[in-house]
Amino acid sequence: MTNHWIDLANSDCILIMGSNAAENHPISFRWVLKAQDNGATVIHVDPRFTRTSTKADIYAPLRSGTDIAFLGGMIKYILENDKFFTSYVVNYTNGPYIVGEKYSFKDGLFSGFNSEKKSYDSSTWAFELDDQGIPKKDLTLQDPRCVFQLLKTHYSRYDLDIVSSVTGTPKDDLLKVYLAYSATGVSDKAGTIMYAMGWCQHTVGVQNIRAMSIIQLLLGNMGIAGGGVNALRGESNVQGSTDAGLLFHILPGYLPSPTASLATLADYNKKNTPTSKDPLSANWWQNRPKYMVSLLKALYGDAAKKENDFCYSWLPKGDEGKSYSWLDLFDAMYSKQLKGFFAWGMNPACSGANANKTREAFANLDWMVNVNVFDNETASFWRGPGMNPKQIKTEVFFLPCAAFLEKEGSISNSGRWAQWRYKAQEPLGDSKPDGDIIYELFKEIRDLYKKDKKAKFADPILNLKWDYATNNKFDAHLAAKAINGYWLEDKTIGDKTYKKGELVPAFAMLQDDGSTSSGTWIYCQSYNQDGNNMARRDKSDSSGIGLYPKWSWAWPVNRRIIYNRASVDPTGKPWNPKKPVIEYVGEVKDGKYASGSWKGDVPDGPWPHLQNPDGSPRADGKLAFIMRSDGYGALFGPGLKDGPFPEHYEPLECPVEKNSFGLQLNNPIAAIIKSERDVIKTCDPRYPFVGTTYRVTEHWQTGVLTRNLPWLIEAEPQLFVEISEQLAEIRNIKNGEKVIVESARGMLEAVAIVTKRFRPFTIQGTEIHQVGLPWHYGWIFPPEGGDSANLLTPSVGDPNTRIPESKAFMVNVRKKGA
């Protein structure tokens, strides 16, 4: 989240889309309803009327996979009805930028499309630069080639009739939503978006979110209290695990993973360190080399020296252009390319798209290690339905791990709050905290490498810093400190001297000369000389907007609302003085700040803002969006693989033959895994209904925990499929009857819930039905509970993230025996 959970209460209009927040982030509704008590409008857009919809002021139905159509219509509405916040757009976004003449969009494709390689050459989307190398601008937003006008042109096709025909949302509902939400485009109103997997799990997932970012920038909602783009993450520490770089493409702190062509650290820094010619741009990622070196020192300690590139070559490198993401990983496993596998606190047998393929793939492994709190469908895959153990050679090690209340450490919530938590009981039986297991396992591995003098490339293993134990037991405090970072030598900066062995105060001090270490630079300050800031429980808060700055610690540097530099006008005064996030306050002489500082939240950088009170520019000011190399929020986004503007494309399995917005039916560069086990069937009469997957409050993810808790499985005991009354009549299905749900990839038995809360959509004049299932179940327990909805989902993904399209695919629902 750019903001945080409590901040929702500051909003005037909360759009919940791609999310069913009341069911899946229930406590968020404490704050949503508080906003509503204060007069906020709550909008829920969802294919199905859910528990969230019951509390919404406006509910609008929409067919799964058509969010860009819906949002594109809103962009058109905002632009045509002058609802945008002009000063914000001109000063803080790239709306005024002039786009180069090579850029075009025609017939559903952007310029630079290579149909053979199935990729875009994004150089055709480049901006026109002046002779300083800075993009040319038209601050009047009139130039036909300025981003603002191109935006208008792009979404001119998204008129109400077409949007309604594609999304299935009645025009009245579209207008209600557009009117209510666009009202936040004024300086004293804030609109926020709460989104989740409903936007991510599509072949246009990233562009869904881009569309909303455009809306938020147009309306001036980024960086303000009650605004922002709020991703509701799904696991207690998926924020932290992402921050820690547990993904193939990133190292801790969102440093890109090095790829094979980047042979040296200098190559890496050159490729990955953005430069800016604009002195007003903070371009914070220019500090990348400091974070990379500090990480290498955290990993390899004294072995990492300037002379050996700080052991940069010890990091493994992926091949250029090759993806090692989830879908690719399981494809490699299925194709017998993988021999060993760790499923650590995960249950891919139920959680991955096209799960039948995953389950079969396990049998190709030599060995698997599964760490979990309960037995699950992955650990026990060899005794699952359709499996013959006698023919499965895979060795499986199941390691019992401690539950969350049996260990100490920190986790980071969606609002970036890293919260320290404590141990309340000893782990049950032989179970151990994961930290202990990891710590001890690596020691065993290293011992083997120590003994084998001829072992292959053992240096990184032998030299990995691994001093995270106290009395031979894993000590989370030592790890947390290493993540924060240490001074490795005495260093004087300004008038302060830091001593070797002290903890680095904050990441502004991290160095690229090897004098600092930091496991994850954005966590620098989390555990420093002041103590364990993540463990703070001080509720004092004078912000007036519920920041709680002394409760735990948020990255970065305890900034609670990020991009807050955009919450003030160019002179540093809050757009909305009633809910200020930061404010520049100073001594003014002759209309200019003679001195000053920021009050409120931790500002996005300590520098003054762009203008003096008299409107004269300040040379020492900085642009609002400090993490972007040019300093501006991107309406036009050249950094994404599938286009600078979001465009509606149908899901890879869809119920229509034509895209109403253009000739290109699907995302032309969607990630598609191809094996005989990856089948897509679109517009196929055997699978006539739109299928989606979702969750319920009472269960969580694959249900490994929750299916084993009696109070929860009692509340939601079995896999169900929700279908409309109209569909039930067509298929002669009664409420509570067991039915078959099938896709091109798999088949499930589920209890039919016949409901008024799903209604057929009218799409391009045709009645289209949608159904949905939760994916919380698995064959292991309970008996009759049902199996995972991911047996149905397709292994196609977003081209940027490669997240599978679990939210929109085609299915059939029929009576058992029909």
Partner: protein, 242 residues
């Protein structure tokens, strides 16, 4: 009037089932093997292990879908018919706590004829547990006597559940009713003058749950609806289907 009350504002309930589970947690109740019979409501009813159950009801009005949630529990009546019914047989089998007004069954309830006790309740609350003991919500008498809120109230994230002194709670309920009356002309408080657990609904109570309000009996219209002196209630209970 002295004692405590609970105000349940269904307009704020998201059916998160926190209350259903928190109640089981505090009371150390178990769970039963349930089936999905075409509803999210599970267990389907109050039972010996379930003193609080969230009821789900889909309703369509003028083409508009509504989904009503009713976190059902004992009302802790001011004049509990179950107490009258039981104590006709077994004195002191029901505690009506003087300080809080909580209606609490003791072990001695086991000796009273359960069918009569059950059918005396206008809200269909009393159940038998696995040891043939009549059970129901206790208003967490141990918690509230120690300055804590009932577990269900404490766990409710949206302030759908509220607890406090009866006068304050009644005022809260009336103010809330007034605040939503324009948007929901059919909004009403249920049996507010007769019970300590007061529900606010926005539509006909029967659309939420058939026992949301004490049933009115046309045959005998005297006195307060659904309330009878002990002996008469015992005789007529079954006839009225209460």
């Amino acid at each position: 009037m002295a004692g405590k009350s609970i105000f349940i504002d269904t307009t704020r309930c998201t059916a998160c089932r926190g209350c259903q589970i928190a109640c089981k947690n505090w009371n150390r109740n178990g769970a039963s093997a349930t089936r999905n019979t075409g509803s999210h409501q599970n267990p389907p009813d109050l039972d010996g292990n379930t003193f609080k159950v969230v009821r789900f009801s889909e309703v369509e009005t003028d083409g508009k879908v509504c989904w009503y949630f009713f976190p059902d529990q004992c009302r802790h009546c001011l004049e509990p018919p179950c107490k009258d019914a039981a104590e006709g047989y077994v004195p002191n089998s029901v505690i009506q706590d003087k300080a809080t007004g909580a209606v609490v069954y003791t072990e001695k309830m086991k000796e009273a004829p359960f069918d009569e006790v059950k059918s005396s309740c206008p809200y269909n609350i009393p159940r038998l547990n696995g040891m043939a003991q009549p059970v129901k919500c206790t208003m967490c008498i141990d918690r509230i006597s120690n300055g804590l809120k009932p577990a269900c109230v404490r766990t409710c994230p949206t302030s759908a559940m509220n607890f406090g002194e009866r006068d304050e709670i009644l005022q809260m309920a009336r103010e809330r009713l007034a605040a939503i009356k324009e948007k929901y002309p059919k909004a009403q408080l249920l049996d507010a003058d007769q019970v300590r657990v007061i529900y606010l609904v926005t539509d006909d109570p029967v659309k939420y749950h058939k026992n949301a309000v004490a049933s009115v009996t046309p045959a005998i219209g005297q006195g307060q609806p659904g309330r009878f002196a002990g002996p008469i209630k015992r005789i007529l209970g079954n006839v009225l289907g209460v």
